[in-house]
Every structure is written in structure tokens, then in C-alpha cells.
């Protein structure tokens, strides 16, 4: 018997690994690549700071921090990070030291370069500011005195002779010059005026060039100013104001010659600085380009190292035996591969004498649930898992959902035109899979669509099928095989205004001379006859048909679900549950609703057009069956509500009684079984107890532990709820399947409304030419609305309803969903997670 199948999760084994300390690292690395082993934390109570490999982890984190710094520097320079798609092996522990040294050195170098370059830049900016300061103050002074000799001889008109006198009188007129950013100039000026009570004179000019701010790297407009004033007191005040407004004060020699000299010196210094700055920049660029080539590999290596040490922290450290003990879940079918990987791991570490020991242990613990999946089944499994992860070895509904989900969706979304568009979209995603895989990773909506591309593809294909059955293509029917109806009225009837009735019966019309067969006798080969498209009672007809489809599909799916529960009972050897749960459940469902389906098929197949009025009204018959009241068969009661086959009364009464018997059967069956079992057990355990006391076996105790007795009242309550849930559920779930009809009706009507409201504007225009242009315009609106309302909105609603029908109506019959997922230790998934975080 094969242990793996798509119907159940993989069989798991709890294993103990005895790892030699030397071989542990490389063995775990091998398992990380293999990614089929889930480790259990053996020190759950140990704080993460007290674990064995906390030092290594800390070193890794330090390195990661440095790498993040390097990366941000690279991004600042807009250098592309090389992605070679290479997957390096986890480095050996001794390589860690090399890596650390390399990253440390780079980090140090870069920081050094950065501080140097910052200082140089700062210096450069200051000197530039000073240069402009000098040049512009020169301008101010020259305005005053073209000769440039002694600027205080005569100032502007504002500072008049008075000042001159004061200068000559010993009072020195001083000035402060500096550079301030343009935004602050206004308030600076006002402040100066107020604080100095108007005793200063300010001249300013804008620097024609933008000056870079060394801290933020932004370029800003700056203004050169000169403040003239009198006296030391004012000078300190002005300096304080300058400080407050973050203006940089630069000294400016009073003498014109000195100024010129200083300017000359400045120029040479600036040139030198420029050269140095460029060289530093080149050096930095070279280092960063070098780093950008390796940084991705380093990141992967670090993540791997970190995850290995993190895993090793979960191990038990057996000092006496000098080995690590790990516990892990492994799918039984992969045990061989794990053993190979472990052997390879110890070979890599050079430790050949003592290899890792893999020891299988038995446990009462519930193993994790692991399904073997591929890219096709993954999406459907996600739908199931969103409700609850399957209990261990429980029947996995995924393989059934794979078909029923797109089918139920399509029943509600039945339109071949819409289905075709959905299919084309999904087909594009499937065919361009490899190309699209890495696109739009951070766009959530796109990720959802792309992740469900196979689901969407199947939904689209099924929609085309149901669309053909409903004969709806963008709400229009297609007459592919020729309608089975021929309109063969004579002119008298046709020329009368109003509707005519097409009768399937061979009944002569009053106006016609002789009867003409209008229905060919052979039904339309597939789906609805296109003649319904132009008939007035189309909805009445499709409603009746679609409602019956919905009930038939629903009952079939629910009883299938109940049969799946039989599979679970058999597999888990709960034979009592077959008799106490499965049989009453299925009998109840089939004796009422299964019977209804039989009646539906009976009605469809036996009543011909001539007896159409006599056909039984099934809803009334069902109600009568419940009430056990049957109308008397006389001429007054319509034929449709009278019994229509022999012994109908007796058969229906028996079915009803059987169904009613199922209720107490299900309600008290299981609790009574449990009571009986417990009685038996107490009798036998008394014996065991006497023996075990003698043998004094400790392990006996452990094994008994999980069999904790549940209180009997709890069993009763639980079974009561379960029973009510099932029987009420059968009725409400059957009604719930009517949503298949309701949504399909809504979809068909909506698309018809869209066609008549929008596209008909263009179609109704007569004449050749204008109508074509109108069609061209109107089609844009129609196609956009079709995509957004009919495909996206209606599609989403049909999707959600299909999902609900599976989760609630179908899976509640057999699916527990109480398991927990198998999360193997895998480098690949850890790397993907890390990539998603960025």
C-alpha cells in the first residue's frame, strides 16, 4: 500500500537525530537545502539569550546591519545590485570569520571615506561661500568708493557726514559680513533692525550659484550680507543674531589689497579641494561597485548561517554523550533522502567515523499535516486551507474541490463570452508564467490573481461550458445547430400585432386550415434552444430549470460529502461511527431530498407536452409529504397536486418515518456507545491496575495519560449540537444551494441589461455610417463595464458564493480541519520571506 496519495496528507514520523557537534552544522545545512524536515524546539522554556549559539547569531546580526548600511550607500549612488540568481551553499563555520573580516573592513573603509568626504565637502562649501562673500562685499565697497581706498571716507547717503565725523572722532565703524539662506533673509533683516534700533546698515546680494548643504546634500539659495554698525556692543548683538539665524559669518579684510590676496589664495585652495574630492568620490564609487557585485551573495549566505544557528539553538545539548539531540517531523516517504543528506553532511565536515544517527520514535502527539502539492494543486489547497488545515491523515477535499469549485462558480457565472475573456486572461498568465513570476511582487491584487491563475483558468473554461448550456454569449443566444422550432403560422396570424404562442402540442389553431408541426420533436443538441432568446417567458422557463439544477447539484454534493465521511470513519477505524453517524445521516438526506431528486427526474422524463398541466407540482408534493396530508382525488382539485403514482402515500409516509427515526438514532447512538465502552474499560483497567501495581512500570502511566475521560454531560451536549446542526443543516443547506440559481439569474439579467442599455444605442441607429461610428463609441463603454461589473464584480461575488458552498455546505459533512501545517526548515522559504520583507 502506498503511503502517499492526493486524498490524504503524508504520513509523518517523529524522529530523533543524534548529531556529532562537528557534523551538526553541515548536516543542518544539507537539510535546509532539502527542506523536508520540521524541527521541534526542545528548549521552549529557555530564553533566547541563554541559548547555545547566541554569540554566532549576534555576530550574524551585526554583519547584517553592516550589509544594510552598505546596501543603503549603494542605493544612494543608484548603482544597480547585481542579481545573478545564484544560490550559494551555506558557508562553513570557518568561512564566517573571513566573511566577517571582509564586511568589517568594507564597512570601516566606507565610513572613513564618508567622514573624510563630508569634511572635505564642508570645507569646500565654506570656502565657496567665503569666495562669494568676498566677491560681493567687494562689489558693495566699490559701489561706495570706486578707488577702493578706505571705505569709510564717504558711505552712502544714509550714513552721512555724521558718521565721517565720528570716524575721524575716534569711533570706529565696523562691519560684519556673512552668508545666510534666502528664506531667512527677511526675518533676519527685521530682527536686526529691531534689536539694533535701526542703528545698523545692511547690504545684501544673492549668490548666483546654488550652494549644497553638507548635512542633507540639498542645494539651496543663499544670500551674502554685510552689516555696518558702530561700537562693540552692537557687534556682539549682531553676532548673536547671526548665530540665531544660522548665518555663517566670514571675516573680511578691510583693506582692498588684502581682500584680493585672500581671494587669490582661496581660488587655488578650492581647485585643490576639488581634485581631492573627486578622487575620494572615485574611490568610493569603486568600492561600492565592487560591493554591489557580492552583496546579494553575502546576504543569502548570512541568512543561511543565521537560520542554521537558529535551528541548532532548538537542539538538546547532551554533554555526557557529547552530541546534539534534535527532534523533528519527517514525512515517512522521505526518510531515505533525509538519511542520505545527513550522511553527506557528516562527510562534508570530514567526520566519517561517527555518522549522524536517525532514530524513529513513537508518540501520541498529533503530527503536522503535509500535502504533496504542485503549482496546479497549490491554489486549490489554499482555498481549502483558508477554512482550516486538514487534521492529520484526514480526507483532503482539495482533489474534489479542484473540479467542483470551478464548476459551481461556472453555474453562477454561465456566459460563454465572459468565460472566454476570463480564460484568455488566465491562459496568458499560465503561458507567461516564468516571465510574470517576478513581476509586481508588491502589488497585492496582482499577486492574488497570479497565485490563482490555474483556478481562474478552470473557472473560465467551465464558464464557457455552462454558457453554452444556458446558450448565453454576452446575453445573446447562438443558433449553432439550428433551432428545433419552426414558426409556420400563416400570414393572417403573423400580421396581427402582438405576441404569438408556439405550442409544442399537435393542436390545430383556429385560424390555420390545418395543423403544422412547429416543434421538430428532436431537442436542441446542447443546452437551451436559441428560440428562448426571443420569447417572453424565457425567465419563467430558465428559473424553473436552473432551480432544479441547483437542488440536484446541491444534494449530490452534500451526499458525496457524507460518503467521504464514511472514508474517514473507515480509515480511522471508527467502525461504530459508521452505524451511529454515517448511516442515519445518509438515510435522512436521501429519504427526503434524494427522493425529491428522483421525483424531479421522473417529472422531466414522463410528462409530455400534452399532459403539461397535469404534471405534479413538486414543491406542494414535498410539503404534503411532510404534513402527511393528501388532497382527495376528485374533479375539483387540480391534477398537479394529486398523488401521481400508485402507493405514493405509503412510500412517502415510510420515507418520512425512516427520516424521523434517524434523528434520535444520531442523537443518542454515540453517547450510549461511549457509556458502554467506558463500562467495559473500567472493568478491564481494574485488572490492569492490579497487574501494573505489581510490575511498577512507569511507562504504563505515560501511555494512559492522553486518555483523559471527557465528562459524560459534555458528550451529550456535543452530540446534541452535532445532531441539530446536521438535520437543520440538511434543510438549510439545500435551500442554500438555490444561490446557484439566484446568482446565475442575476448574472444573465445584468449582462442583458448592459447589452440593451449600452450596445443597443449603436445598434438601433438606422442607415449605414453613423450607426457604425456610434457603435465604435459605445463599445468602449460596454466593454469597460463588462470587464469591471460583469467580470470583476460579478466574478468576485460568484467566487465567494462558490467558496461558501464548499466551506459550509460541502466540507461541514466530513471535514474537521483541526490540523496544523507542516513547516519544514527550508532555506528557500526563508529566503523568499526575506525577499518579501524588502
Amino acid at each position: 500500500m502506498s503511503t502517499s496519495s492526493i486524498f490524504r496528507s503524508e504520513q509523518m514520523t517523529l524522529c530523533q537525530l543524534f548529531l556529532q557537534p562537528d557534523a551538526a552544522y553541515s548536516s543542518i545545512a544539507e537539510l535546509g537545502e532539502l527542506s523536508i524536515v520540521q524541527f521541534r524546539d526542545l528548549n521552549p522554556n529557555v530564553n533566547s539569550f541563554q541559548r547555545k549559539f547566541v554569540n554566532e547569531l549576534r555576530r550574524c546580526e551585526e554583519m547584517e546591519r553592516k550589509i544594510r548600511f552598505l546596501e543603503s550607500e549603494i542605493k544612494k549612488e543608484e548603482i544597480p545590485i547585481v542579481d545573478t540568481n545564484e544560490n550559494p551553499d551555506a558557508p562553513k563555520p570557518r568561512e564566517l570569520v573571513d566573511l566577517e573580516a571582509m564586511i568589517d573592513k568594507l564597512d570601516y573603509d566606507l565610513k572613513q571615506i564618508n567622514t573624510n568626504s563630508d569634511a572635505l565637502r564642508k570645507n569646500f562649501n565654506e570656502l565657496t561661500e567665503l569666495k562669494f562673500n568676498l566677491a560681493m562685499t567687494q562689489g558693495f565697497f566699490q559701489q561706495v568708493d570706486p578707488n577702493g581706498n578706505g571705505m569709510f571716507n564717504d558711505m552712502t547717503e544714509e550714513i552721512t557726514d555724521e558718521t565721517q565725523r565720528m570716524t575721524s572722532g575716534g569711533m570706529k565703524l565696523g562691519f560684519v559680513s556673512g552668508v545666510i539662506s534666502r528664506e531667512r533673509m527677511n526675518s533676519f533683516e527685521r530682527m536686526l533692525w529691531r534689536v539694533c534700533r535701526g542703528n545698523v546698515f545692511l547690504k545684501s546680494a544673492e549668490i548666483p550659484q546654488l550652494i549644497e548643504d553638507p548635512t542633507t546634500g540639498e542645494k539651496a539659495h543663499k544670500i551674502v550680507f554685510v552689516v555696518f554698525f558702530q561700537g562693540e556692543q552692537l557687534k556682539t548683538r549682531i553676532q548673536k543674531i547671526c548665530e540665531g539665524f544660522r548665518a555663517n559669518i566670514y571675516p573680511c579684510p578691510e583693506n582692498g589689497n588684502e581682500r584680493r590676496e585672500l581671494t587669490m589664495g582661496l581660488m587655488t585652495r578650492l581647485e585643490d579641494l576639488n581634485v581631492v574630492i573627486n578622487q575620494t568620490e572615485d574611490h568610493r564609487q569603486r568600492i561600492l561597485i565592487e560591493t554591489s557585485r557580492l552583496i546579494r551573495l553575502w546576504k543569502i549566505k548570512l541568512i543561511k548561517i543565521k537560520s542554521i544557528y537558529f535551528t541548532m539553538n532548538m537542539f538538546n545539548n547532551d554533554i555526557a554523550r557529547k552530541c546534539f539531540i534534535a527532534e523533528c517531523w519527517i514525512p515517512t516517504s522521505y526518510l531515505e533522502q533525509v538519511q542520505l543528506a545527513l550522511r553527506k553532511g557528516s562527510e562534508i565536515s570530514g567526520n566519517v567515523q561517527v555518522s549522524t544517527i536517525l532514530h524513529q520514535i513513537t508518540t501520541n502527539e498529533k503530527p503536522p499535516t503535509y500535502h504533496k502539492l504542485n503549482k496546479f494543486t497549490q491554489g486549490f489547497q489554499n482555498l481549502v486551507d483558508a477554512y482550516g488545515v486538514a487534521s492529520y491523515r484526514e480526507i483532503n477535499p482539495m482533489s474534489f474541490v479542484l473540479i467542483t469549485f470551478p464548476f459551481l462558480f461556472a453555474v453562477m457565472f454561465g456566459d460563454a463570452g465572459h468565460g472566454l475573456i476570463v480564460t484568455l486572461f488566465a491562459l496568458w498568465m499560465v503561458l507567461k508564467e516564468d516571465y510574470l513570476k517576478d513581476k509586481g511582487k508588491n502589488q497585492e491584487v496582482w499577486r492574488i490573481f497570479f497565485g490563482g491563475r490555474y483556478i481562474i483558468l478552470l473557472m473560465g473554461i467551465f464558464s464557457i461550458y455552462t454558457g453554452l448550456i444556458y446558450n448565453d454569449v454576452f446575453s445573446k443566444s447562438m443558433n449553432l445547430f439550428g433551432s428545433s422550432w419552426k414558426v409556420k403560422f400563416d400570414d393572417n396570424i403573423l400580421l396581427k400585432d402582438g405576441a404569438v404562442t408556439l405550442e409544442p402540442n399537435p393542436r390545430p389553431y383556429s385560424a390555420a386550415e390545418h395543423y403544422v408541426q412547429m416543434y421538430s420533436g428532436n431537442p436542441y443538441p446542447i443546452g437551451l434552444d436559441p428560440v428562448w432568446q426571443i420569447s417572453e417567458n424565457k425567465i419563467t422557463f430558465t428559473n424553473s430549470a436552473k432551480m432544479k439544477f441547483a437542488i440536484i447539484i446541491g444534494i449530490m454534493q452534500m451526499s458525496f460529502g457524507v460518503f467521504l465521511s464514511l472514508g474517514n470513519h473507515l480509515y480511522f477505524k471508527h467502525y461504530y461511527a459508521i452505524f451511529l453517524e454515517f448511516i442515519p445521516q445518509i438515510i435522512f438526506l436521501l429519504s427526503i431530498f434524494g427522493y425529491l431528486i428522483i421525483l424531479i427526474f421522473y417529472k422531466w422524463t414522463t410528462y409530455l407536452a400534452e399532459q403539461a398541466t397535469d404534471a405534479p407540482s413538486l414543491l406542494i408534493h414535498l410539503i404534503n409529504m411532510m404534513l402527511m396530508s393528501y388532497p382527495t382525488d376528485d374533479s375539483k382539485t387540480p391534477k398537479s397536486i394529486v398523488v401521481f403514482y400508485n402507493h405514493q402515500r405509503i412510500i412517502q409516509t415510510i420515507l418520512l418515518i425512516v427520516a424521523v427515526i434517524c434523528i434520535p438514532w444520531l442523537l443518542i447512538g454515540k453517547p450510549i456507545y461511549i457509556i458502554v465502552q467506558r463500562k467495559k474499560k473500567t472493568n478491564s483497567t481494574e485488572l490492569v491496575h492490579q497487574e501494573s501495581e505489581a510490575s511498577n512500570d512507569i511507562e504504563m502511566h505515560e501511555q494512559n495519560e492522553p486518555h483523559q475521560e471527557v465528562d459524560m454531560s459534555e458528550v451529550w451536549v456535543e452530540q446534541g449540537i452535532h445532531t441539530i446542526e446536521y438535520f437543520l443543516g440538511c434543510i438549510s443547506h439545500t435551500a442554500s444551494y438555490l444561490r446557484l440559481w439566484a446568482l446565475s439569474l442575476a448574472h444573465a439579467q445584468l449582462s442583458e441589461v448592459l447589452w440593451t442599455m449600452v450596445l443597443r444605442i449603436g445598434l438601433s441607429m438606422g442607415g449605414i455610417g453613423l450607426g457604425g461610428v456610434a457603435l465604435f463609441m459605445v463599445f468602449t463603454t460596454w466593454s469597460t463595464l463588462t470587464v469591471f461589473i460583469l467580470l470583476l464584480m460579478e466574478g468576485l461575488s460568484a467566487f465567494l458564493h462558490a467558496l461558501r458552498l464548499h466551506w459550509v455546505e460541502f466540507q461541514s459533512k466530513f471535514y474537521k480541519g483541526e490540523g496544523y501545517p507542516f513547516v519544514p526548515f527550508s532555506f528557500q522559504s526563508i529566503l523568499e520571506e526575506a525577499a518579501a520583507e524588502n
Binding site: 548643504d213 542633507t216 443566444s477 400580421l495 438606422g766 465604435f776 466593454s783
Partner: protein
């Protein structure tokens, strides 16, 4: 002729191209169906049916169907034109994307306007050091 500059962006041109392809296919088929005088399409237009002559009635119906068929084909033709324009725009956009590595879009042109220009928030730590100038 290749348009050298993109009038519409990559998304709009792609959208227009897809709608055009859809429109061409649908209108060609609808034209054929109207030409064949398919009954399900009868609801979509009015025609003069207040006549007692069967032949006149038939002729009116045929000509109404025929007009719709031609209108559909005209619409299909117009969509061929749109497809040529939108397709060439899409190609131009793709080419620019390959050449510059930057999608032609309005966003980057205005993105720098949003940057914070408030100089008062900046830190000016620089103080003049007289030794530097000497």
C-alpha cells in the same frame, strides 16, 4: 510611420490595444451574424413592420439587418484604426522603456516638486573656523 513621441502612456495604449482587438473580433462576428439575419439579434433594432404586404415586410427586415451588418463592419474598421494608433504608441513606449529603463510617465516629472523645501527645518551646524582661511 513611427510616432517619435508618445501621446499616451504605456497603460492607456495597452488598454486601447486590447479593447481594439476585442472590438475587431466582436464586430466582425456580429456583422456576419447580422448579415446572416440571425434571429436572436432581432430585439436589438426597430424596423418598419406596419405593413400588410409580406414581401415589403421581408424587404424592410432584410435591409435593416443589412444596415446593421455594415455598421458593425464600419465599427470593426474604426477599431483597426485605433489598434494601429494604440499599437504603435505601445511599441514606442516599449522602445523607450528598453532604451532609458524608465517608463514614460508623468509621475517622475513632478515627483521632485513634492520634496520638502522648507529650509527652516534643516540643521546648520557649520561655524566658521578662522584657521581655514589662513
Amino acid at each position: 510611420m513611427k510616432l517619435q513621441w508618445p501621446i499616451c502612456g504605456p497603460k492607456l495604449s495597452l488598454c486601447c490595444s486590447i479593447i481594439s482587438v476585442w472590438g475587431i473580433v466582436q464586430f466582425l462576428l456580429m456583422g456576419v451574424f447580422f448579415y446572416m439575419e440571425a434571429a436572436p439579434l432581432l430585439d436589438d433594432f426597430e424596423f418598419d413592420h406596419n405593413t400588410t404586404n409580406t414581401k415589403v415586410f421581408r424587404d424592410n427586415l432584410s435591409s435593416a439587418y443589412n444596415q446593421r451588418a455594415h455598421n458593425c463592419w464600419i465599427a470593426a474598421f474604426l477599431y483597426v484604426g485605433l489598434l494601429v494608433i494604440a499599437g504603435s504608441q505601445f511599441m514606442t513606449n516599449q522602445k523607450q522603456l528598453v532604451e532609458t529603463g524608465q517608463p514614460t510617465s508623468m509621475a517622475p516629472r513632478f515627483s521632485d516638486l513634492a520634496a520638502d523645501e522648507n529650509g527652516f527645518n534643516r540643521q546648520y551646524q557649520m561655524q566658521y573656523n578662522s584657521e581655514q582661511t589662513e
